[in-house]
Amino acid sequence: MMKTVTIKISQVIGSGYGVSASDGKLVYNAIANEISKGNRVLISFENTTRLTTAFLNAAVGQLYGEFSADKVRSVLVPPEDAEDWQLHRLKLVIDRAKVFFSDPDSVSGIISSEVGGDDDS
């Protein structure tokens, strides 16, 4: 029976610094491992204080190269404990990964529009 397994980023990488692609790969491996076992995955951002797009690309963006978007949607439940800005970065990375893996030449177009309205005063 399919169960939901929580993967806490800070536990997998041993710190609150989700900054390097190599640590992102650790999270990717943990997620892919649970998917291969037929489980659902809940990613928790609890205690993750720093985050880069390089880390998120390696941790979750690459999932879209391995699995279809429908498959990813069916096995990943909504993330928890993420601050708004972390969710926004996650969304940017996911949107870009979807486009890249469906059509690698068309990536650059989506970014400027999304990042352009990034900040507000």
């Binding site: 990488i13 710190s15 610094y17 900054v19 390097s20 692609a21 190599s22 640590d23 720093r50 985050l51 880069t52 797009t53 390089a54 880390f55 690309n57 963006g61 690459q62 190269g65 978007a69 990813v72 949607r73 990943l76 909504p78 993330p79 928890e80 993420a82 708004d84 800005w85 969710l87 926004h88 970065r89 996650l90 969304k91 940017l92 990375v93 996911i94 870009r96 990964a97 890249f100 893996f101 990536v107 650059s108 970014i111 400027s112 990042v115 352009g116 309205g117 990034d118 900040d119 507000d120 005063s121």
Partner: protein
Amino acid sequence: MIALNTARLETTDTGFGAIADLEESLSNLGAGLVDIECSRLIWLDAHLASALRVLVSHSQGRNQNLRFVGLRSEITKILKKNGFFQGKLTDTYSTTMPSHVFSLEDGVAFAEYTRRYLSHPSMPVMSDSLQRKFFEGIDELFANSSLHSLSPTPICVCGQFFPTKQMLAITMSDGGHGIIGSYEKTFGSGIMACDAIDWAMQEGSTTRHGDIPGGLGLAILREFISQNSGRLIVASKRGYWCQQGRNIHKAELKKPFPGTSIVMEIDCSDRKLYDINNAATPDNIW
């Protein structure tokens, strides 16, 4: 003896050009003790110590032993405080992020280094929003350097807070073959060094194959620099590139800078609230 031919060593094309000139002069000398005459120098951006450290590292590779002579005492003091010179002085005001070398895999150690030095009470009291954006920006820069540097040269980091100007500055330098080196290795020659930097600073530019392209983090950082009215500066080989606010200035240096330096300077008095209007919803994020 060779001379440092500038009065102000700043993060300008002139400043980086002066370091490039020194590198050129040193590369034409043999092993042994070399005096660098610095009596013209009246101002040094302290965070440029990381670029100077790359210069020293290259010289050591040629078995040269450098001695900086004729320095004004206040400049010597600055370079002792941030650890560029031996005999480290205590940083009474704790406004220095000392010179430190990280390997390309040391992103976590770099993050911890920045947290540690910026948490000192003498460092700027930034809004939570600004501090998060600063950390995000420098983490993205470090991650980008780690991913896209094609040489294993370490990254030397140095930072300085300037209380009067309310400016926080950090420089990351490596002694590698520069952005144009990465570009030419992938795409061949035929581009100016400053244009190679400009290309690298655009979203989606990458010299890697098969991965999701980098550049998203740089796009986020550049938007932040625009909003903050700060500066993002890159000197790499003969190229100089500077974003100030939304304006870009490019220049070619007469001599090649010994690697790549990236400088981020931000206005710490900025009280904008960043990222308040673009939260995503967890429920449909995948």
